[in-house]
C-alpha cells in the first residue's frame, strides 16, 4: 500500500525528515509516535503534497505509483486521506456543499457516478449520525465555530464519506474527550478491511487502545529510531520518549 524509502524533506533550508523508510502493507494500521518537532506532521504533509515542503531525497510509492509526482488532488482521488491536526475554517463554504463537492470529485476520478443533492444528504446524515454529530453540522460553514472535538469529528466524517485506501490521522486524538475518542476510534475501525491501511500519528497511547495498531514506529529527529508491535506504545507511555530514543541511539 505505502512504501517510503529514505525520505528526506525540508521546509525552506531547514531539513526536517532525514531518511524515513517505512512500509505499510495492505490492511494494516501503523502508529507513528514521537516527541514534538520530530517530523510527524511534516511526514503527513509531505505524503499529501503540501507545497511548503520540499522533498530532497528518497521515494514514496502508493499502490506502486510514485506518490511524490502527483498533485495533492490526484493523491486524494487515488485514495489518500489526511485528517488534519488543525483543520482550517472555511467561512462562507457550507459543510454539506464542501463534502458533496469533494465526494463527487473523488467519485468522478474513480469512474463512479456523481451523487445528486438528495442521495448525498441521505448518505451524509447517516454517517454523521453514526459519528454522533448533530445534524446542523452539515448546514454550518466548514469548521467555523466548531469546537476542537467537532473539528476532529468532521475530519473523520470526511474520511468515512471519501472511503480512502490509506488514511493518515495526524493527532486526531488531540482535543478529544474520552467519549469522542471512542467515537473516532470506532469510525476508523469501521473502515478497517484488507483494502484499507492507516498511519496513525499520535502522542498518546490512549487512541491506540481503540485503534489497535499492527506496528508502532518511534520518530525522532526526522528518522524512525525504533519499531515494534502494539506493546511499544505502552512501553513509551510508561517510560517516556527520552529513554526509548536514548536506548535506540
Amino acid at each position: 500500500m505505502l512504501e517510503i524509502k529514505n525520505l528526506h524533506a525540508s521546509i525552506g533550508e531547514k531539513p526536517i525528515l532525514r531518511g524515513i523508510t517505512l512500509t505499510v502493507p495492505d490492511g494494516q494500521v501503523h502508529a507513528i509516535m514521537g516527541p514534538n518537532g520530530s517530523g510527524k506532521s511534516t511526514l503527513s504533509y509531505v505524503l499529501s503534497g503540501h507545497s511548503d515542503f520540499t522533498v530532497t531525497d528518497g521515494t514514496a510509492h502508493f499502490d506502486g505509483t510514485d506518490l511524490l509526482a502527483m498533485e495533492p488532488e490526484a493523491r486524494a482521488q487515488a485514495g489518500l486521506f489526511l485528517a488534519f491536526q488543525a483543520p482550517v475554517e472555511l467561512p462562507g463554504v457550507g459543510n454539506a456543499n464542501f463534502l458533496r463537492t469533494a465526494l463527487n470529485a473523488v467519485r468522478k476520478a474513480r469512474g463512479e457516478p456523481e451523487l445528486d443533492a438528495a442521495q448525498f444528504l441521505k448518505l451524509a446524515r447517516a454517517e454523521a449520525k453514526r459519528l454522533q454529530m448533530p445534524d446542523d453540522m452539515l448546514k454550518r460553514n466548514v469548521n467555523v465555530g466548531f469546537s476542537g472535538g467537532e473539528k476532529k469529528r468532521n475530519e473523520v466524517l470526511q474520511m468515512t464519506m471519501l472511503q480512502p485506501k490509506l488514511a493518515i490521522l495526524d493527532e486526531t486524538d488531540s482535543g478529544l474527550d474520552i467519549d469522542a475518542l471512542k467515537i473516532v476510534g470506532d469510525g476508523v475501525n469501521a473502515l478497517r478491511s484488507p483494502g484499507f491501511s492507516a498511519l496513525v500519528i499520535t502522542h498518546h497511547q490512549r487512541l491506540l487502545d481503540h485503534i489497535v495498531p499492527d506496528a508502532v514506529h518511534v520518530l525522532a529527529h526526522g528518522r524512525i529510531v525504533r519499531s515494534g508491535g502494539a506493546d511499544l506504545a505502552r512501553a513509551l507511555e510508561a517510560q517516556g520518549y527520552a529513554q526509548v530514543i536514548a536506548e535506540a541511539a
Binding site: G49, E71, E73, V88, L90, G92, V93, F98, A105, L162
Partner: protein, 422 residues
C-alpha cells in the same frame, strides 16, 4: 488643442444631426449639450474620475441606434433567464423598447420614455456629465410606476446591445422607477450584449414613504463594450432600497449610485461584486447622502480580479448636520488572483452631525493557501477549489439577494465565470 472638449465632439455632432427627432422638451437637451460643449466628457484630472479613463470613448465613432435598423433577429441575443422566464419582462434592444419580446406586468404601470419623454428632477447633468450625455441623446427607456400600497412582485428589465456589422453603436436609455407610499417591487436588471457598443443608462428611482424596492442588477455586457450607468435613488421616510450589482462584463465600466435618504428611518443597502479578468476595468462608485435622522446605510463591495483587470471602488458617505442617529457602514474587499491585477479604493466620510455611527474598512488579499490545500487534499481540483473560495468570499455581498430566481441567475453567471478563468 483642447483634448478634453474634443472627446465629446462625436456625440455633439450626432445630437446636431438628430435635432427635431428626439422626443420631449428640447430645452433640457440643449442645456446638456451646452455642458458637454464647454466641459467635455469626464477626464482623469477630475476628482471623481482619477481611476477611470474615458478617453478611448471619444476616439470610438459610434452610430446612433435610432437611425439604424435593429441588428437583432430573435431571442438569441437575450440572456438566459432560468427561473426569471416566468416573470413579466421589459426588453430593450439597442436601447429601444421591444414590445414583441416583452411581457408587461399586471401590477405595475409601464410606459415608454419615447412616447412620454420627461426628464426627472433627480438627475443632475451639471454634476454628472455622463448624465448630460444621456440627457442630450436619450431616445427611450422604461417608466415604471407602482401605486400606493401595491406589491407589484418581480419585474425583469433587459438591455441587449451589439455592434451593427462591426460598427459600434451607442444608446442612452432613460429609466424612471417610482414607488408610491407603501408600494413594493423587485426589479431585476440585466445588461448583456456582443461586440463594441456604448450603453449609457440613467435611472431615476423615487421611493415614497414606507416603499420597498429590491434592485438586483447584472452588468454582463459584451467584453468589448462600454457600460456607464448612473442610478439616482431618493428614499423617503421608512422606505427601503436594497441594491445588489454584479459587474462581470464590459471592457470599461462605471456604475455610479447616488442615494439620498431624506426621510426619517430610511434604509439603503448598496452591495456589489465585481468579477473581472483580462484587461477589464470596472469602477463602482457610490455617494450615500444622509439628510434625515435615524437612517441606515450598508455597503459591502467585493472584487475578484484576475489577469490584468482593474477594479475601482469609490464610496462616499455624507451625513448632513440634521441627520443625527445615522448608522452608516461601508466595507470594500478585494481578492487578487493575479500579480498584475489592481484595485483602487477611495472611501470618503463627510460627517456634519455629532451623534452618528459610521464605519468603513477595506482589505486586499490573495486566496488563502492553507484553505486551498485543505480543499485540494480532499480531491477537489484546483479550479473548483478556487471557485468555492471565491463564491464564499462573494457570499457576504450576495446573500442580500433573497429572490430565489434572481439569486440563481447570479450564481450561474458567477460559476460560468470560472469556465473561462479555470
Amino acid at each position: 488643442m483642447n483634448a478634453v472638449t474634443a472627446s465629446a465632439t462625436g456625440f455633439l455632432a450626432r445630437y446636431e444631426g438628430l435635432t427635431g427627432r428626439l422626443p420631449g422638451d428640447p430645452a433640457p437637451r440643449r442645456a446638456a449639450r451646452d455642458i458637454l460643449l464647454s466641459a467635455g466628457l469626464p477626464h482623469l484630472r477630475e476628482e471623481g474620475w482619477r481611476y477611470t479613463n474615458l478617453a478611448p470613448l471619444g476616439d470610438a465613432r459610434f452610430h446612433e441606434a435610432l437611425t439604424e435598423a435593429s441588428g437583432f433577429t430573435g431571442d438569441d441575443d437575450l440572456p438566459s433567464l432560468g427561473g426569471l422566464s416566468e416573470l413579466p419582462r421589459l426588453v430593450f434592444v439597442q436601447g429601444r423598447f421591444s414590445s414583441a419580446q416583452s411581457v408587461l406586468p399586471e401590477l405595475a404601470s409601464v410606459r415608454s420614455f419615447a412616447a412620454n419623454a420627461e426628464f426627472g428632477a433627480l438627475a443632475n447633468p451639471g454634476r454628472d456629465r455622463l448624465v448630460a450625455l444621456n440627457t442630450m441623446l436619450a431616445e427611450d427607456g422604461a417608466i415604471i410606476e407602482v401605486a400606493e400600497g401595491v406589491d407589484a412582485g418581480s419585474l425583469v428589465l433587459i438591455s441587449a446591445g451589439r455592434d451593427i456589422h462591426g460598427t459600434p453603436v451607442a444608446f442612452h436609455p432613460r429609466h424612471s422607477i417610482r414607488l408610491a407610499a407603501g408600494a413594493r417591487l423587485t426589479l431585476v436588471e440585466m445588461a448583456v450584449g456582443h461586440g463594441q457598443y456604448l450603453h449609457n443608462p440613467v435611472t431615476e428611482i423615487v421611493l415614497g414613504e414606507g416603499a420597498a424596492l429590491s434592485h438586483v442588477r447584472l452588468q454582463n455586457e459584451g467584453l468589448a463594450a462600454y457600460h456607464l450607468a448612473t442610478v439616482y435613488a431618493d428614499i423617503a421616510a421608512r422606505a427601503t432600497y436594497d441594491s445588489f450589482t454584479l459587474c462581470a462584463g464590459a471592457r470599461v465600466a462605471r456604475t455610479e449610485l447616488l442615494v439620498r435618504l431624506h426621510g426619517t428611518g430610511g434604509h439603503a443597502a448598496i452591495n456589489a461584486a465585481q468579477l473581472l479578468r483580462g484587461a477589464q476595468h470596472s469602477d463602482f462608485t457610490t455617494v450615500v447622502r444622509h439628510e434625515a435622522p435615524g437612517c441606515a446605510s450598508r455597503q459591502t463591495v467585493k472584487h475578484v480580479l484576475a489577469g490584468r483587470a482593474r477594479g475601482v471602488f469609490q464610496g462616499k458617505i455624507e451625513v448632513d448636520r440634521l441627520a443625527q442617529k445615522t448608522d452608516g457602514y461601508q466595507m470594500n474587499q478585494a481578492l487578487l488572483l493575479s500579480p498584475d491585477a489592481e484595485i483602487d479604493c477611495k472611501p470618503q466620510l463627510e460627517i456634519f452631525a455629532d451623534d452618528v455611527k459610521c464605519s468603513h474598512g477595506a482589505t486586499v488579499g490573495e486566496l488563502d493557501s492553507e484553505q486551498m490545500f485543505y480543499l485540494v487534499s480532499r480531491g477537489i481540483p484546483q479550479a473548483e477549489a478556487r471557485a468555492l473560495l471565491v463564491q464564499a468570499f462573494l457570499g457576504e455581498a450576495l446573500d442580500m439577494v433573497a429572490d430565489e430566481p434572481a439569486r440563481a441567475m447570479l450564481d450561474d453567471v458567477i460559476s460560468s465565470w470560472w469556465v473561462h478563468e479555470g
